[in-house]
Symmetry: D3
Subunit: 245 residues, 6 copies
């Protein structure tokens, strides 16, 4: 059940301890995909998983702005400090847990959020009365994951499937040719660049020409399946296990 559209009386009647918190970003996605791509994608994956899951799952509203300062040079990108972002996510997870929905998967649509989510969910598990893990959808789509990039084939495809018309089809060629083929500027395993404008002219990494609505449908199916499997694991998880016990 999506909290936004339910009443509190209906929420009170749900019997579950599982919740999903979609977390997106408002940030540049090249000349062809909208600034809200990450939020739309995260919400789509969360909703699809909740819909197909066999038990009720509470879906919180999506966090629309995250850790995206790396795109600050591209117009329209919004961001918070990582510290503010963690506080915002933690407060929301704690209020979910206050209603008994204390096993929370944070469904993430933006790579730049991942480290902050790892830190805050571990803190929640160790110090709050809740269990929480982050799930980044494009890491959970099998072979496709290797083509992630930024505003590349994966994000573009998923958006074309869940929100046809959101992608400017006529700009995809420009998107591909004005972008970069790799995230970052690397010396060994170290990325020397902190901002994306240092290595991509139009904000794109990867080739969105291999995107399609069909591929998006497949990505959604893969990600939702993976998320359902994770919900199974989270539902059964002993939050404070010890090996050998």
């Amino acid at each position: 059940m999506r909290l936004e559209t339910e009443t509190w009386t209906d929420a009170a009647a749900v019997e579950t301890d599982l919740a999903l918190l979609p977390v997106g970003s408002t940030e540049q996605h090249g000349p062809h995909a909208p600034l809200g791509t990450d939020t739309v994608d995260a919400e789509a994956v969360a909703t699809a998983a909740a819909d197909r899951y066999d038990d009720p799952v509470v879906v919180a509203p999506a966090v629309p702005v995250g850790v995206a300062e790396e795109h600050r040079e591209f117009a329209g990108t919004l961001w918070t400090s990582a510290s503010t972002f963690r506080a915002y996510v933690r407060d929301i997870v704690r209020s979910l847990a206050a209603h008994g929905w204390d096993r929370v998967v944070v469904v993430n649509g933006h790579g730049g959020n991942a480290a902050a989510l790892g830190e805050v969910t571990a803190r929640i598990v160790r110090h709050d009365d809740a269990y929480a893990v982050p799930f980044t959808w494009f890491d959970e789509v099998g072979e496709h994951s290797s083509e992630m990039g930024h505003a590349g084939p994966l994000e573009t495809s998923l958006l074309q499937h869940v929100n046809p018309g959101a992608v400017r089809a006529d700009r995809i060629d420009d998107a591909a040719t004005g972008g970069s083929d790799r995230w970052g500027e690397w010396q060994g395993r170290v990325n020397l660049a902190v901002d994306s404008h240092e290595f991509t002219e139009n904000g794109v990494v990867g080739d969105p020409r291999s995107a399609s609505a069909e591929r998006g449908e497949e990505l959604l199916d893969l990600a939702a399946s993976a998320l359902c499997a994770l919900l199974d694991a989270v539902r059964e998880r002993d939050p404070r296990p010890r090996v050998g016990e």
Copy 2:
């Protein structure tokens, strides 16, 4: 232009310094109205004003969770501390300003956010490179404002207009009879209650039976007009005036 659905290249082409940041809440709105009421209403007012305004206005995505701990005893209510909320709003306004959209109206849909927004916007004006003011839509609808309550006729009407079907019509009678006619428990001008469950059984304050989609349409028109008038004033405002100069 709504940032979520635009690309960065389109955002870069807009010539304006005006932006709107809708701020809602996910909180109980009685047995008849959804938890997302405040967010939907704030977004509707912001979008309507931007649509009818003569100059371009950037509309940021809505902040979906705010200062709503006072409803914590009602299932599904989410909240952050006032301090986290201020940090989240301030970071977003500063990133809007970084793109040149440095005159920002925070379009608020939840009374509990108002004090925190007053504090953070004053801080932005005094100490950041931006001008910001809060605008709470239900304070700006003329005579109607006196009937605000909570989940009462105003919020219910606006929702019925902008999102028909979101309101459970069959529960409005229950909503009215199980609610309270006044926010708070008062001794003189002091509210002794910090949480809404101290004075309302079902979360409602006011009588939503006087709500209607028609009234909602009127409310939207009034609020959007007031917001456009405010945009005029903000556009012309000297951010650092001195009387007599």
Copy 3:
């Protein structure tokens, strides 16, 4: 009993759980009233109420500097950030509560403190082992309240009564003519000004010519009565009530 003038042994002997914390400000009050007006007034109201209350009431020393950055352009105005102010007040209330005086009314003399006090007292009630409410004296003087302004007839009158000589009588005409008749610069219900020098040349809002020591005596009586009634309510208050129980 005023803590400042009592010994700890006498404080230990008091049987009460009621305390008052006066909170003032050091800020401009026009050419005729001193910078310490708000502190003096808050202390006077707190002391008068404690004196006439039928049970013992502990009176803490007054907090002399508050949220007054809006007057920063007028010499002598001192201020803290709202965040520092909340921390200072919260720490003091918690130390009062540590001695068993855990029902605290914060007696406020400055409008600029009100929002911060509302936030911090609610936080204390919800998360600390104490009950606290703010009481702003000039909101509790019946019909007079509508004439509040700033350095206007109310504050001036109370000061003339409790501290004759503090007000420069020979400047009251100038105070009246060089001031403003309204706080703020308004577009609808939104105040576009964050600082008082944007709308008043000499810092005054309202007409202090209608002030008098006699009126001050009446104001003190009204405010002290209202505060005693609040102490009754606070003494009986269930800190964690639920409607219908």
Copy 4:
């Protein structure tokens, strides 16, 4: 000039960059001296020095609650965290400096404040646009300083001089016999005790029987002289000197 009793217009007319900020404490001072002793004493020293200084000196209102958690077991003691205290003092000093009074002596009446004041004044000198130093009056009274204790002969004497009647003369014998002759419990140079109730039964350290109003007069004279000499030095101080230049 004492800010509390002056108007902003008078404050604006003062030509000086020197200010004093008295800092006291509300804390146990044995069975014979009031909880407000430190605040009264700090104010008295600051006022006496300002009165006799040859140039104008701004005197801010006294900070009434400081770092006194070590007396928490004695009724009526109020305290803030050291962190809150530093923030409160720093904000006030910065607002003094905003009016051009940017050479500030913090006149301290409580030993427990000293470390926090040392830290915050150094931070102000290094990172804010102001120069500030702490001055603890009982360290600056010559031979007397060695008898400081707590609620002992020095504090008691000064209070007897500046506020006759504040000290309960009939309890001084009890104060002396029920107290301790040393602050702390020591192993070498390390104090093992964090709170005063660990080593003094009635809160007193030292023998207040050697106190007198005459001695208080002498103490005030010594402290005020020392403070005036410090004002001379502060007035001439290059805030950012380098040896040999």
Copy 5:
């Protein structure tokens, strides 16, 4: 040059803007390797690189405690919050930069520090007057990197090379058999475990039996070479580049 052993006068004479800050951890490394393994290893790599680099490089003392709460159930593990750790590292990097050594590589020996270092170095680059990147030595040793584990062959080997005798050779068999072959408990790409005792009985991940001092020598050579290559890149780096310019 290692700062610890140099005088300030020698430090003042160095002409470079390059500095290394080793960052370790004090945490369990199985029954065979000491708690200080990460610190020793990070220092060894930093020193080796500085020694062989053609230009002078300042080496700061190693930060000995980091983000290691995941090992809290194993005796002797020390940790700070990620937030404290970031503040500590940031302050040190800023003080390095204050002396002109404003191109800093943070040489990291502990996987648990990596995310926090990524966040804080990006913040330094964007908002402080310094350029900083993290370098985690075991990510930069070619094919070996895939065998990292925890207290496994890599860390053990390097220690055996740089600090013969630190490893308890007689416990390596136990270390191998009582450990785990994988870090974490995984559902898809999500690690369900927040602490290492959830998946390893003796703290080991991987098989330290394939460790040797010879392998350690090779690892040190590989890591130091990679770090020198990184120093080259950092020395030449435009801290604020833009693609295409």
Copy 6:
């Protein structure tokens, strides 16, 4: 036992609740003594005391950077804010206590750390589940203590004893003649200087010509003895005593 060189299994086998946390600094020590002097000295004292103490004592790795901003003008000095330093020390002490070593002496080698350590250890005793006290070695060496200075005879001697070769013997004459004979610039009991470059040209205070390895041996013996006596007292200490009980 020194944690750095022990395994967790050995640490788990130790039966004690006593721990030492050495705290140093990386800061100028004149032209003759290395930047790491304070850290080396603090570690030497802690290790010597642990070695000779009759019960096991856990020795944590030394904190290498502290509150040393006062030396910022001398190359190579590193520092953190006092606030960061307190957080770092507090986190480490709490993790020591998590393993049962909850009586901790912080062995300090730098005067600039003392006030911050006093604050943080008192906070730990009052609010965490641990007992902690600071011990500054050069305050505990009898008559010698009066000659402390900075980079003077005491620090130089101890270093010559524990780390022969670390001191540049050929610069000691220069150190003595280019230094100052007093810390600070004083008006009465107030130090007007916040940084050491304001009163010493080469960073030295005191005369290191009276240093010798023999004296260092004596200093180490005195300090270690005093620390052992303190460990006795800490071992027996009732953390929450009340006089008379």
